[in-house]
């Protein structure tokens, strides 16, 4: 069968092809967007990239809250009454066509004076005239062309975020000073007694001194602060010998030029700080389109519709919802607070909260939990709690969310630094004592020389360059890690805990098994065609599983919400749905089932099973040799037997775990010495992800939100998990080898220092040489490691 592709969104048009302007569209929504663009001469949109669009969603009434002044105030970053500037996050931004159309918004609405896209962050900054248009109008315009902005409770905060650019400034200053000092110190390297050099060397030296002042006191300030903090908490971290080295370099050089003893070590000093900062900069790999800090606020809406007897329906900010308020929840809207259903057909999708893909039907009077999404029609509910006190959001009041994970973790560099600092100090003292007896005039020279040459630049660079490079390699393989410390922690884990739903099972596909009487071809045809008309998630799943059939038109079709569907074609009559609706005698509470009867005769049932990710059992069998494996599920034990068959027998299977239980389980095992890697996906895992040593959120689509975590893994790479852990372990080995390399350089340097022959030129060669060879070594080694990963 030939497929017709929608000109606008690129989806398969299925059976409903809408032809317009010699092009095919899959739905009226897509056609409308095309019409808007062609009327405004913006069809260039389709030239840049084929089928770049998306189907615009039904959004009637959804953005009514944007007409409230206090909400506009919070969402705009500039507002003087005439001009407003707002930055809107648009998840759909994905190609150059998107940038083009969004930067030409002024052609669609002349009151928009400019719009600028940041592709990496997927946002657009819109400047518009607030007298003639409004934020609401801009948002509606964006939604109508398929670029619906995502506005959540997270955006509801005042003021702009300050971007921290300190490191770039510091790096700039250090690099600038390093370059200039190198030029100025170069003539003296050769120690030729030329007349002009003798005359000008004092000027050169003082200029170098001036250049190194901002390097020491501004660019290198962090090392002094960190060393001071370390000493105060009785820790010899890597910054202690660095700070010692910097200060000795600066003081000795200053004394040398004041008393005309030599040219000083300003070149080494500025070079050292520059290389160290370069390492820090390289280690910072940020994914601007990802966030590792999300909590429930990123999922929740800013406002919902409140029904009051005095003023009818009006938008209300969710923080203002009080107990007893009547709320109106539209289709596709999120329930912001715990409440009781008053009326309407509630079909709640809790996939945000539990990762469970099947939606749940609720009757009037039932309790609704915050975080669920209404999926059929409008409902009315009464709030029984405020936002912060709701069942789901309460999880965030746990201490674990305010604790910094990196505290209390001594990294490899700092562990080595402790021994290193003690050794260096003792060498310095012994050498100084020796020279005090032999030649006292050289003693001070030797003491400072040892501290200068032993400054652990190369050691400090090993970890940043190894981890920094590995972060980039992982990123290319769709494993997005928050920072370098996570890789180190990942190498140390001994227990892996998996969530079930959405993590080891795939959200997209379920498998269904039929038992009962065999269906005749005409019944199968009827079944498939009946399911086609239904939007119920189970119908859609079953429809996709069944074989392709011809399309027939049904004589009668009726959907009973929460129960099932009945339909007939000619003389054949079919009922599909719940056990009671169809008239089945037996039904299982644990498993999801769909029952079928034709012509009032019970035929059988489809039982849905979770479909597990590809390579799951292979992955578990590889991992079981090295790690304790646990499945911690919020679901019931319906899948227990099934899982036992697939997974190695050592795997612990624990069901019916509430979000708090998961957190406590991990906490308990950590006190027993377990280093836990938690892999989860939903908001219900958020506590467990925060408590674990490394929390990885698995995501089918990394642009969709995932809870706060240390790393985000693309679901398609799930079966590679063991390789990522293995690579982290190898990274630790690489760092250890580069420590060996840098010790080798230190031994050479110490020879010159201890014998009292350290000339500035030797320091100036040795320091960059050791740093550069470390960078080259770690880069080559991690790239080889990365090649193995693919």
């Amino acid at each position: 069968m030939e497929q017709t592709i929608c000109f606008h969104c690129g989806d398969d048009c299925n059976s409903t092809i809408i032809a317009y302007d010699e092009k095919n569209f899959c739905c009226n929504g897509c056609k409308t967007v095309y019409e808007i663009f062609s009327e405004n001469d913006l069809t260039c949109y389709y030239d840049l990239q084929a089928s770049p669009g998306t189907i615009p969603k039904e959004i009637e009434g959804k953005y009514d809250f944007l007409s409230q002044d206090n909400i506009i105030e919070k969402l705009t970053e500039f507002n003087d009454g005439n001009t407003q500037i707002a930055t809107l996050y648009i998840p759909h931004i994905h190609c150059s066509s998107c940038i083009w159309i969004l930067e030409n918004l002024n052609k669609l609405n002349p009151n928009i004076s400019s719009s600028q896209v940041n592709f990496g962050k997927k946002n657009v900054r819109v400047t518009y005239n607030s007298q003639t248009t409004s934020l609401k109008a801009v948002v509606l315009l964006l939604s109508s062309i398929g670029y619906e902005p995502y506005i959540s409770l997270d955006d509801y905060k005042t003021g702009q975020q300050n971007v921290n650019r300190n490191l770039i400034y510091k790096l700039g200053i250090a690099g600038f000073a390093f370059g200039n000092v190198m030029f100025l110190s170069f003539p003296e390297y050769f120690q030729v007694g030329e007349y002009w050099l003798e005359q000008y060397k004092h000027l050169f030296r003082w200029l170098m001194f001036v250049f190194s002042i901002p390097v020491v006191f501004y660019a290198g300030a962090d090392y002094f602060i960190s060393a001071f903090k370390g000493l105060r908490s009785k820790l010899l971290n890597i910054d202690v010998p660095i700070a010692l080295g910097i200060s000795v370099l600066f003081i000795r050089s200053t004394i040398e030029i004041i008393f005309d003893l030599g040219s000083g070590f300003f070149d080494s000093l500025t070079g050292l700080v520059f290389f160290l900062l370069l390492g820090k900069f390289f280690q910072q790999k940020t994914y601007s389109f990802l966030s590792f800090e999300r909590d429930y606020k990123s999922y929740f809406p800013i406002a919902v519709t409140k029904i009051s007897s005095e003023i009818g329906e009006h938008p209300i900010q969710v923080y203002d919802i009080k107990k007893g308020d009547r709320l109106l929840i539209r289709n596709e809207e999120l329930i912001p607070v715990d409440g009781i259903l008053i009326n309407g057909n509630a079909r709640i999708d809790y996939s945000f909260v539990t990762g469970e893909s099947d939606s749940v039907s609720k009757q009037s009077g039932d309790k609704l939990f915050a975080g669920g999404k209404q999926t059929s029609g409008v409902i009315e509910m009464e709030a029984i709690k405020s936002v912060e006190q709701s069942y789901l959001t309460q999880l965030w009041s746990n201490d674990i969310f305010s604790k910094n994970k990196d505290d209390g973790f001594t990294n490899l560099t700092n562990r080595i630094s402790k021994k290193f600092t003690i050794i260096i100090l003792s060498i310095a003292v012994i050498a100084t004592l020796f020279w005090l007896f032999v030649n006292p005039s050289k003693a001070m020279n030797v003491f400072t020389a040892v501290l200068i040459i032993a400054c652990p630049c190369a050691i400090a660079l090993s970890a940043p360059f190894t981890f920094g490079n590995l972060l980039r390699i992982f990123g290319k393989l769709k494993f997005y890690v928050k920072n370098a410390a996570v890789i180190e922690q990942l190498a140390a884990i001994n227990t892996i805990i998996f969530d079930k739903t959405g993590t080891i099972t795939s959200n997209k596909k379920s498998t269904a098994q039929y038992d009962g009487l065999a269906l005749s071809p005409s019944e199968e045809l009827l079944l498939k065609n009946t399911l086609r008309g239904s939007n119920h998630p189970l119908s859609r799943t079953l429809y996709d599983i069944l074989d392709e059939n011809n399309i027939i038109s049904l004589n009668h079709f009726e959907e009973h919400l929460g129960q099932g569907i009945e339909a007939n074609h000619n003389d054949n009559y079919i009922k599909i749905g719940s056990a009671s609706f169809v008239g089945a005698k037996e039904h299982s509470i644990l498993n999801t089932q769909v029952h079928i009867s034709t012509n009032n005769e019970y035929k059988g049932k489809y039982t849905f099973y979770n479909s597990y990710r590809k390579g799951l059992s292979k992955l578990f069998n590889v991992l079981k040799t090295q790690y304790d494996l646990v499945i911690l599920s919020g679901d019931n034990a319906g899948e227990l037997e099934n899982l036992k068959k697939i997974l190695p027998s050592k795997t612990k299977l624990i069901f019916n775990q509430k979000p708090d239980d998961k957190l406590e389980y991990i906490k308990y095992h950590q006190t027993e010495g377990a280093k836990v890697l938690m892999i989860g996906d939903g908001l219900n895992d958020a506590g467990a992800l925060a408590q674990s040593n490394v929390g990885i959120a698995l995501s089918e689509n990394v642009n969709v939100f995932s809870p706060a975590c240390d790393a985000i893994l693309d679901a398609s790479k799930f079966n590679q998990l063991n390789k990522f852990i293995g690579a982290s372990k190898s990274a630790i080995k690489i760092i250890k080898w580069s420590f060996v390399l840098s010790f080798f350089y230190n031994v050479i340097g110490l020879y010159f220092a201890v014998t009292g022959q350290l000339a500035p030129v030797i320091a100036a060669i040795l320091m960059p040489l050791s740093s550069i060879s470390i960078v080259v070594f770690t880069t080559i080694a991690t790239n080889l490691l990365g090649r193995k990963l693919k």
């Binding site: 592709i5 000109f7 062609s38 940038i99 592709f119 990496g120 770039i168 700039g172 200039n180």
Partner: protein, 62 residues
């Protein structure tokens, strides 16, 4: 020989000017988004091409 003073001060002034330019560029956010501008600069041509002859607006892509 005093020419070296002039040369020295010129070289340092030039260096400082570039340094200030760098700091201003960082402050204005030029390094915040390093992808979009590279795409944006390619658009201008198409806009100019489109405006004078809006009649041929529908072109085929697939």
């Amino acid at each position: 020989m005093s020419v070296i003073y002039i040369l020295l001060s010129i070289s340092i002034i030039v260096a400082v000017v570039f340094f200030i330019a760098f700091i201003t560029a960082v402050k204005n956010g030029q390094f915040d988004d390093d992808y979009t501008p590279s795409v944006r600069m390619l658009f201008d041509d198409e806009l100019v091409k489109e405006q004078p002859k809006p009649t041929i607006k529908i072109k085929k892509t697939n």
